[in-house]
């Protein structure tokens, strides 16, 4: 039997390749904004959150806008509260120390891969951690390569590097499709997310859309179960 760490690591490689494309773009951007190699390296390891790092790099100027930056990081990463909560079943048997140690390398990508695998088979938190290690390796190499060799990519737009993550997420969302039960919650999530995106600054639309869709799902389930009893 392969260890969960190895299984998680290899299951995350396809998505890590696409994350590397994203990392390359971040590296190029960071270079052009004057973020140093060491600062980018530190960000990769300490923050390890793609969209938050993109935001920080975009806000990077002298003097550094500390409040805006930290609030932006908080807002965009608020979804990690929900991501952490959704991992509860995986960590059911773990000690507090194990939880604390393994949670740092949780990103959208290995989380999504882990949860869709958890629906099919029994896996341990080390599957998630293996995915995290895989991601951090690809993330470091790609962002730092982008920073070093940024001038090579002349036109990221025409090769659609920006759209890679969107397609990847779409493919992952498909794996969470739960038949008819998903239709209404997903519709509500999409509408709320888009409205919040239009009218509420920052990245709140992710949290608002996600929560509203999930609440609809809970209510739906609640009434269905009442009927069947």
């Amino acid at each position: 039997m392969k260890s969960n760490f190895i299984k998680g690591f290899s299951a995350t490689i396809p998505i890590a390749i696409s994350v590397a494309a994203y990392g390359l773009v971040l590296g190029v951007l960071a270079y052009s904004k004057g973020v140093t190699f060491f600062e980018l390296l530190l960000m990769d390891v300490v923050t390890f959150a793609g969209s938050a790092q993109f935001l920080m790099v975009e806000l990077w100027k002298d003097p550094l806008p500390i409040t805006e930056m930290l609030f932006a990081v908080f807002a965009i990463n608020l979804r990690y509260l929900l991501i952490g909560a959704s991992l509860t079943p995986l960590f059911k048997k773990s000690s507090l120390f194990e939880k604390a140690a393994l949670m740092h390398l949780v990103a959208d990508e290995n989380w999504a891969v882990t949860l869709s695998r958890l629906k099919k088979e029994k896996i341990s938190p080390y599957f998630l951690f293996g995915g995290g290690i895989c991601l951090v390796i690809f993330w470091l190499i790609s962002t730092l390569a982008g920073h070093t060799f940024g001038f090579i990519i002349s036109d990221p737009y025409s090769v659609a590097l920006d759209f890679v993550i969107i397609i990847i997420f779409t493919a992952l969302i498909a794996s969470f499709y739960d038949g008819k039960d998903s239709v209404l919650p997903w519709f509500v999530a999409a509408i709320f997310a888009y409205l919040s995106f239009l009218f509420i600054p920052g990245k709140w639309y992710i949290v608002i859309g996600g929560l509203s869709g999930a609440i609809v799902y809970s209510i739906e389930k609640h009434f269905r179960e009442d009927k069947s009893e």
Binding site: N77, I208, G210, G213
Partner: protein
């Protein structure tokens, strides 16, 4: 410039602490929350709805090509169970739209 550099390091570390607290905090709060059926369903539905909310604005701003590419990628992923195949097909569609049309 030394002050600027020091501040940069401090900000990056604070950003890391904030992010880690949310990751770990969510797991701790989740422990308490999962005892309720309603909340459990909520947590079950969250992965799909969160990811969907994340991509909706990008797809809308990309217009019809974005919608077609995402839809095809989603269907391919569901049918083949292979993210990489879905990625290649989805990317081919979007690159074609951006460069040829």
């Amino acid at each position: 410039m030394n002050d600027f550099d020091m501040l940069a390091i401090v900000i990056i570390i604070l950003a890391g602490i904030i992010t880690y607290s949310l990751r770990f905090g969510g797991l701790l709060v989740g422990d308490m929350l999962s005892k309720h059926k309603f909340v459990e369903n909520l947590i079950k539905a969250l992965p799909g709805t969160l990811l969907l909310s994340f991509i909706v604005p990008s797809i809308v701003s990309e217009g019809i090509p974005g919608a077609i590419s995402a839809l095809v990628a989603g269907v391919v992923a569901k049918k083949t169970n292979n993210v990489l195949v879905a990625l290649i097909i989805g990317m081919a569609i979007i690159i074609m739209f951006r460069n040829l049309l």
